[in-house]
């Protein structure tokens, strides 16, 4: 039995996620879409906190909600035109989108409900058996090269980021 606080928090995040992601893809105004996305990202971040991954939640909020959103907003402002019609969606596209998204949702949700594995333990029990992950653990895991340690991907990501920086600069510089 989970605590009532947890359940309330859960419902808030769940509703926020569902509602704002729905709004993000249906609104015509692109800047609003970005704002709704921000809310979704924040909700997800909260969910991470709730699940006991504080570091991840922090990263989610810092990188996504902080960094990426800024990029989005800048991009939107840079490419925005006053009477932009691209928000309008014709019915053909909408039908396609609804069909695809609907069928994906239906298949996945049915699958979820038919998986007995997914109906077990409560969050409380899991938190007790796993507990929180400390920064120290994360640090060790990311800088070690043993089993369950991630030095190589970590370095790869670094190089990737570097490549992105250079790539981004190169692409954006040329007119």
């Amino acid at each position: 039995m989970d605590s009532v606080g947890n359940i309330i928090v859960y419902f808030i995040i769940a509703i926020a996620m569902i509602f704002f992601s729905f709004k993000a893809v249906t609104t015509r105004k692109i800047l609003r879409a970005a704002t709704y996305l921000l809310f979704v990202l924040l909700a997800v971040g909260v969910a991470y906190f709730q699940l006991g991954y504080q570091f991840l939640g922090a990263v989610q909020i810092a990188v996504y909600a902080g960094g990426i959103m800024v990029l989005f907003v800048f991009a939107i402002l840079l490419t925005h035109k006053p009477n932009d019609k691209s928000g309008l969606i014709d019915s053909h596209r909408r039908a396609w989108g609804i069909t695809l998204a609907g069928s994906a949702a239906v298949v996945l949700i049915f699958a979820l409900f038919y998986m007995p594995l997914l109906h077990g333990a409560s969050l409380m029990e899991c938190m007790q058996s796993g507990g929180e992950i400390t920064m120290k653990e994360i640090g060790t895991a990311f800088t070690g090269s043993d089993r369950f340690q991630y030095l190589l991907p970590f370095e790869a990501i670094s190089v990737l980021l570097l490549a992105c920086i250079i790539g981004g600069v190169t692409i954006a510089r040329k007119g």
């Binding site: 596209r93 695809l100 069928s103 994906a104 298949v107 049915f110 699958a111 038919y114």
Partner: protein, 647 residues
């Protein structure tokens, strides 16, 4: 026996062919002619030496207790198909090959000499002599073959020489098509020959003539009674081999090439298409005679084909205008005579007949005499054509005053072929008819009738050419006798035609080598002479002076005349089969099938691939959303499938 002479006999002509063929362009005509004549003269002398040695030396190699032997002078391996089935090239001496050596070299030498005059001024004189040498080589190789495969090899070579010589005037379309026809028809016949050899050699496991003919029962036994479609395998083999002979010897229905072959130069017709190559079929049957005797069906087949051909050709010859064609049909008819004669012969004594192998001896005898007088007639016709520049008797008439030598020699030839005593044709024809009567009266009567027809058409031609009425063109262009190179062979051959009958032929050539003393069958001889004289008289009445009788006879049976003149439409039938059916239907449809079905299928694969590519190219639309949509759709479907499988 020393092998030098036999080798030289074959080597000189082929060397001469290579010299004249390769170096001919650089030579003068005279040089080429002299070389050719000298080469052939030498060959002829050598051949005479060899043949006469064979007949008269009494060497135990050649004759044992009065029986002439078959002797292989040399026999070297040329190609080994299997351990036992080996093709040799060799030199077989026996009565008939020695006879043929004489015939071929004599006629060939005469023709070489004659051509020097006849072909003078022709372009390609050197080429002509080269081809003549090639032909002589091939023909000699054919007659001295020790085995059936060697015979086949040279058989093909004579075919090609004949092709080359018929097509000598290669700028004339008619000569080209005649040569083509000759080659293809004989090739078709050779196919039968080849299949026959295939069958025969499979069972006997040998190609060698001596092995086969010395033990014909062994040949029969080796087939083990195998049959195919009701007839024994050996019958098939022998009939098919005879088909080869039918092609070369222009038997019905494969005779159509021979009249057209007259497009070649006349001396060539004399050599190849009268005296030597066309009797190869007869020679083949004679060569395989003991084996043929074991197969009654094949012998009957030979008789029937020969009898029909003889009559057919004789009838057609009565209605021809071109003198060379008359001679050609006469050749067909006479060769058919020999065929029947061989067909009625028998290798074992039959009751009531004093000598069962008579037909064989008579056939070979006639081959010999016919070669001489037919060559004479052709060379004579050549002299006529040389004089009036036309092949048709309508351009001639009354020539006896202008060309006395030609006239007399031609008359000798006609008398010989008509079978008038004492010309050579009489003796050989008499023996043949006697042999036919001995077998069955029908063959004798039938062939006697053909002999009468022969006398009639030959004298029809003789009178039309030398008597009838003088052609008005002579005033502008006076015909005259040919130069000595041409007249000399005529005279020699005329003398031979006159005398050859007195040769005691049975002493030399019989099927088993035992000598036989020829004696005239009086009843047969008298009958045939009477018929011949009547026929000549009839021809004289109709054609000696200009009169309306021939025209009346012609208008009495216009269809028959027309049909005979058009050779009973055999050419048209062949044309229809080859052009319309084989070319027009089979070949065209196969070619069409190839292009429009097989090739189209292959192209179709390419087209399908291409079409499919174009069709699915639209999916590469450049719209990222479409890609994503497809991707997600796929993923969803996969997920659904996985899920359905899991539960």
């Amino acid at each position: 026996m020393d092998i030098t002479l036999p080798i030289l006999i074959l080597a000189i002509p082929i060397t001469m062919f290579l010299i004249l063929g390769i170096g001919g362009v650089k030579m003068s005509k005279k040089m080429a002619g002299v070389l050719g004549i000298l080469g052939l003269g030498t060959t002829a002398v050598l051949a005479y030496i060899v043949a006469l040695t064979y007949y008269f030396s009494g060497d135990p190699l050649f004759i044992v207790d009065g029986v002439r032997q078959q002797y292989q002078v040399f026999d070297v391996t040329w190609l080994a198909f299997t351990q036992s089935l080996v093709v040799n090239i060799g030199f077989l001496l026996d009565p008939i090959s020695a006879l043929m050596l004489i015939v071929i070299t004599t006629i060939s030498f005469m023709v070489h000499l004659y051509s020097w005059g006849y072909m003078e001024g022709e372009q390609g004189f050197q080429r002509y002599y080269a081809f003549l040498s090639l032909f002589t080589f091939s023909m000699l190789g054919l007659v001295v073959a020790t085995n059936i495969f060697q015979m086949y090899i040279f058989w093909e070579l004579v075919g090609v020489s004949s092709y080359l010589l018929i097509g000598f005037y290669y700028k004339l379309p008619s000569a080209v098509s005649a040569s083509k026809k000759a080659f293809i028809v004989t090739r078709f016949a050779d196919l039968g020959f080849l299949i026959g050899i295939l069958i025969l050699s499979y069972y006997t496991d040998t190609f060698n003539f001596v092995d086969m003919t010395s033990n014909p029962d062994g040949v029969l036994l080796s087939t083990g009674g195998a049959t195919f479609m009701g007839a024994s395998v050996l019958t098939w083999a022998m009939v098919l081999i005879f088909t080869g002979g039918m092609g070369k010897s222009a038997m019905m229905p494969l005779h159509i090439w021979l009249p057209d072959a007259m497009e070649g130069p006349t001396p060539v017709s004399a050599l190849i298409h009268a005296a030597t190559m066309v009797v190869a079929g007869v020679y083949l049957v004679a060569r395989m005679f003991p084996v043929y005797c074991t197969v009654d069906a094949a012998m009957t087949f030979i008789c029937v084909v020969g009898a029909i051909t003889a009559f057919y050709a004789a009838v057609v010859a009565c209605a021809q205008i071109d003198i060379k064609r008359i001679l050609a049909f006469s050749t067909i008819s006479q060769i058919a005579f020999m065929m029947v004669s061989l067909g009625v012969a028998y290798d074992k004594p039959i009751e009531g007949v004093h000598y069962s192998g008579l037909g064989y001896m008579a056939g070979m005898f006639h081959l010999f005499t016919h070669a001489m007088f037919k060559a004479l007639l052709f060379l004579g016709a050549g002299a006529l054509i040389h004089a009036v520049h036309s092949n048709n008797y309508t351009a001639m008439g009354g020539l006896r005053k202008y060309m006395p030598i030609t006239h007399i020699t031609f008359l000798f030839g006609c008398l010989a072929i008509a079978g008038i005593w004492p010309f050579s044709g009489f003796f050989s024809k008499d023996e043949m008819l006697a042999a036919m009567f001995a077998r069955h009266w029908f063959w004798g009567a039938w062939m006697t009738m053909v002999a009468g027809l022969t006398a009639f058409y030959m004298f029809r031609m003789y009178f039309l050419v030398f008597w009838w009425k003088e052609n008005p063109h002579y005033k502008e262009h006076k015909p005259h006798d040919a130069p000595w190179q041409m007249s000399l062979p005529l005279i020699i051959l005329a003398i031979v035609s006159l005398c050859a009958g007195w040769i005691p032929f049975g002493e030399f050539v019989t099927w088993n080598g035992e000598p036989y003393h020829i004696h005239i069958e009086l009843s047969v001889a008298v009958t045939s002479i009477c018929i011949a004289v009547c026929a000549i008289a009839l021809a004289g009445v109709m054609y000696a002076k200009e009169n309306p009788l021939p025209a009346k006879v012609k208008s009495f049976w216009p269809t028959l005349w027309e049909a005979a003149h058009r050779r009973f439409y055999w050419d048209e039938i062949y044309m229809f089969i080859t052009h319309k059916i084989i070319f027009g239907i089979i070949c065209k449809s196969i070619a069409w099938f190839d292009r429009h079905v097989i090739d189209a299928t292959m192209d179709g694969f390419a087209k399908i691939t291409q079409k499919t590519s174009y069709a699915i190219r639209g999916m590469q639309s450049g719209e990222i959303q479409a890609y994503v949509a497809w991707y997600i759709a796929g993923a969803v479907v996969l997920a659904a499938i996985t899920w359905l499988c899991l539960i």
